[in-house]
Amino acid sequence: MPTSVVHAAVGFLLAIGLLGKYYDRRALFVVLGIVLFPELDAALGLVMDGAHRTVFHTMVPSLVGGGLLYWDTTRTDSWLRGHWGEYGVRIAWVGLFVHTFAHLGFDWAHLSGINVLWPFVDQFVTLDGEVYISSTEGIVQTFVDISSDPDTGRRQIDAGQGGTTRDIHVSTPVQPSKEPVTGPVDRRFPIAVGGWQLYLIGTGAFALLARTFQTNRYEEDE
């Protein structure tokens, strides 16, 4: 993973704007909980092979959850609106957005990626590549590579597919390696790796700090 701190910072950056007038400390805590929740599958790694980046790191709940949320909030007798009002509806949508983009999105592009369609398809996918415009080659992108096999002529699509839960293990502090190692075990809790991760943490912190200095226009209008 880009570290949990990075997920939280990007989550806050997104949540501040999207919570809008429902922005308050309680809503931020709910969003923080949602954005950190998927990391719990690291603990499941102790009982299931390759559980981290698989069980809670799949796009399936986002799709199903988005559908359910849309269905519930557009019907006349909405359960969510009845219980928590517009505040709850907003937090649910923001939570879904933050979970999908700030957590799954960034893990997708990191190390072995995420198990996108688990449990339907057991396949880790990593987003990696670049896009540039070259004066000699034109527009070049290397994220998805479509080519045909020279021997069989079959079309191949390479979007960064890796292994399955059987052979992929993403190191976590709970389970640094798949097989037990002899000697002292090094458990690492990364806070930030590389300039860009520290940068994203700083950007999230900046947004939170700046937001506390801002006057609330909505209250002024009332």
Partner: protein, 210 residues
């Protein structure tokens, strides 16, 4: 520099987070332009040697801008900006300065491309790169900032005379093929997609809040 497109994406996210009730197409445009503006110094480097990531990436520019804005809106009896554009103008101006610092300068500072942060007072390039890890074997590992000789040190690839920041406008090599990089890696792609999706989401939010 990380590509200007990434600065723009961060600018969009900063604008969405901080514009609040002032969010509309025009204000987001101003904030995004502020995010991309520092990279114009790559063009100026064709005339001024070593201007890339220095001339407009100097922290002095937003500091002076913030000082002027503070003077105008807080110190003067009648603020020019407030009189002309009201609450909206003041909010957009502050967010634009924040976007210039965070999305325009900051993104380059936290990469190996590096930024001459104190230009023209100092022509040294700075890059804050490293890692910060808690390890049960090695303890706290922190390599972003080094402590030495009573000074805080960060990585520096050189000064404006010794270090050339490559850009498609001013490439380092004589190779005639030029490359305008848009996205360099997976996380940058995710950031761009997130920014693109966040715009309609924010539009819906603002519609619901009014």
């Amino acid at each position: 520099m990380p590509p200007t497109l990434i600065s723009i994406a961060v600018g969009v996210l900063v604008g969405i987070a901080l514009l609040g009730a002032a969010f509309d197409r025009r204000s987001l445009g101003v904030v995004v332009i502020a995010a991309g503006l520092p990279d114009v110094d790559a063009l100026l480097s064709l005339v001024i040697p070593g201007a890339t990531n220095a001339l407009l990436h100097s922290i002095l520019i937003p500091v002076i801008a913030a000082g002027l804005l503070y003077y105008d809106t807080e110190q003067r009896e009648e603020s020019w900006l407030n009189k002309r554009y009201g609450w909206y103008g003041v909010r957009v101006a502050w967010v634009a300065i924040g976007s210039y610092v965070v999305a325009g300068i900051g993104l380059d500072l936290f990469s190996t491309e590096s930024v001459a942060l104190l230009y023209p007072l100092s022509d040294r390039y700075y890059a804050i790169v490293g890692r910060f890890v808690l390890s049960t074997q090695e303890g706290i590992v922190q390599t972003y900032i080094q402590f030495g000789d009573g000074w805080l040190k960060v990585a520096s690839p050189g000064t404006t005379t010794t270090h050339h920041v490559d850009s498609w406008l001013h490439p380092a090599s004589e190779d005639p093929a030029r490359r305008l990089r848009l996205i360099e890696s997976g996380w940058q792609a995710v950031l761009v997609v997130t920014a693109i999706v966040a715009i309609p989401a924010k539009v819906l939010v603002e519609r619901g809040d009014r």
